[in-house]
Amino acid sequence: MSIKININPFLQQYTNNQSVVEVNGDTVGQCLDLLAKQFPGIEKGLFNKNGKLLNYVDIYVNGESTHPEELAKSVKDGDELHILLVPTGG
C-alpha cells in the first residue's frame, strides 16, 4: 500500500527538499502522521497545538478537496495527496 504525498514547496524545507514522499496509511490523518514521523519538523507546518490541521493547510486527494472529512478521509493504494497552503499575497 503506497500513498504519494506531494509536498507544498514551502514545506519542503522540512523534507530535505523532497517534493514527493510515499507513505502507507488508511486515512489522510494516518498518512500525515507517518509523514511527520519521517520528517518531524513538518508537524509545526501542518498542525496546531491541539493536533488539528492549521486552517490554511488544505489536503486534496486525487485532485479533490477532502473538506469536510479532512483527516478522517480514507485513502487507498495508489492515491495521491497534495498538501496546499492558502497564500495571502497579491
Binding site: 507544498n8 514547496p9 514551502f10 517534493s19 492549521l54 486552517n55 490554511y56 488544505d58 486534496y60 485532485g63 479533490e64 478537496s65 473538506h67 469536510p68 497534495h82 496546499l84 497552503l85 492558502v86 497564500p87 495571502t88 499575497g89 497579491g90
Partner: protein, 248 residues
C-alpha cells in the same frame, strides 16, 4: 458602436474565433472593479486596459515603496512616495486613452466596499489579505457579480473564478490563509496569476471559453507546473449557501 480606431486597435483579438466585433463591443460596455493596484493589480489592470474594457474602477490606498518595484510593474523608480492610484492612472491612461479609468484612494472595508464596487459587472481580486478577499467575495455574492480570485506566495500562485450561486465561492473553499506579514514573492508569479485572472475576466465578458469555476488552478513556478484541483459548493457556506445549490 466601435470606432474606426477601435476596430484597428483591437483587430488582432477581434479576429479570434468566437470573439468578433460583438465581443469587443461587450468589452467596451463592461465595468470592472479591480481591488488593488499592486503585484496582481498591475498586470490585471494593464491587460484589461489594453483589451479595451470600457470602464475600469481601481481602488488602493498605499503609496509606492522601493520594495514594491520587484513585482508591481505599474510603478517605477520615479513613482516612489506617490500614491499607487496616481501612478497607476498615469500609466494606464498612456496605455489606452479610449477607456474610462476611475481611481479611488481608499482602503476597502466593510463600510465602503458596496459603494466602491457600485454597479460594476465584475470584481477582480488583487488584494494581499484574506479578510478583504472574504469581504469582496461576500459583496460579489450579495450583488450577484462574478468574482475573479488570485493569490501568490513565492513562486506559487493560484486562481479561481466564482459565479455567485452557481459555483464554489471563496468561503466554500478557504478556512484560513498563511498568517499575514511580509510575504515572499518574485514578480513573475503575480504576472502569471494576474494574467490568468485578466484572461478569465475577458472570457466572461466576451462569453467564450471555459471558466475556472469549481476548479482551483495552482501554478508551481519552481517546478514549472500547473495543477488543477476540484472544489465544490459548501451547502453550509456562510456566504453563498442561501443562493441554493445549482452548480454550473
Amino acid at each position: 458602436m466601435l470606432t474606426k480606431g477601435e476596430l484597428l486597435r483591437y483587430d488582432r483579438q477581434i479576429i479570434i474565433k468566437g470573439f468578433g466585433k460583438e465581443g469587443q463591443e461587450r468589452l467596451k460596455q463592461a465595468k470592472v472593479f479591480i481591488a488593488g493596484a499592486g503585484g496582481l493589480g498591475s498586470p490585471i489592470s494593464m491587460y484589461l486596459t489594453t483589451a479595451g474594457v470600457g470602464t475600469i474602477r481601481i481602488a488602493d490606498n498605499d503609496k509606492v515603496e522601493l520594495s514594491n518595484l520587484n513585482r508591481q510593474v505599474l510603478h517605477w523608480d520615479k513613482d516612489i512616495g506617490k500614491r499607487k492610484i496616481d501612478s497607476a492612472l498615469e500609466k494606464l491612461k498612456q496605455l489606452n486613452q479610449d477607456i474610462q479609468i476611475e481611481a479611488t484612494v481608499e482602503t476597502i472595508n466593510e463600510a465602503n466596499v458596496s459603494q466602491l464596487v457600485a454597479d460594476s459587472d465584475l470584481i477582480v481580486d488583487a488584494m494581499d489579505n484574506l479578510p478583504t478577499r472574504y469581504l469582496l467575495n461576500k459583496t460579489a455574492i450579495d450583488k450577484g457579480i462574478p468574482f475573479f480570485h488570485g493569490a501568490v506566495y513565492g513562486f506559487e500562485g493560484r486562481a479561481m473564478t466564482i459565479i455567485p450561486g452557481k459555483t464554489a465561492c471563496l468561503m466554500c473553499v478557504y478556512r484560513g490563509a498563511i498568517p499575514e506579514g511580509k510575504f515572499p514573492v518574485i514578480g513573475v508569479t503575480p504576472a502569471i496569476i494576474g494574467c490568468i485572472q485578466a484572461a478569465e475576466a475577458i472570457k466572461y465578458i466576451v462569453g467564450i471559453g471555459e471558466l475556472l469555476t469549481n476548479r482551483l488552478l495552482i501554478y508551481d513556478g519552481l517546478n514549472s507546473k500547473f495543477s488543477e484541483f476540484s472544489v465544490k459548493k459548501d451547502p453550509n457556506c456562510k456566504h453563498c449557501s442561501h443562493l441554493g445549490s445549482k452548480e454550473q
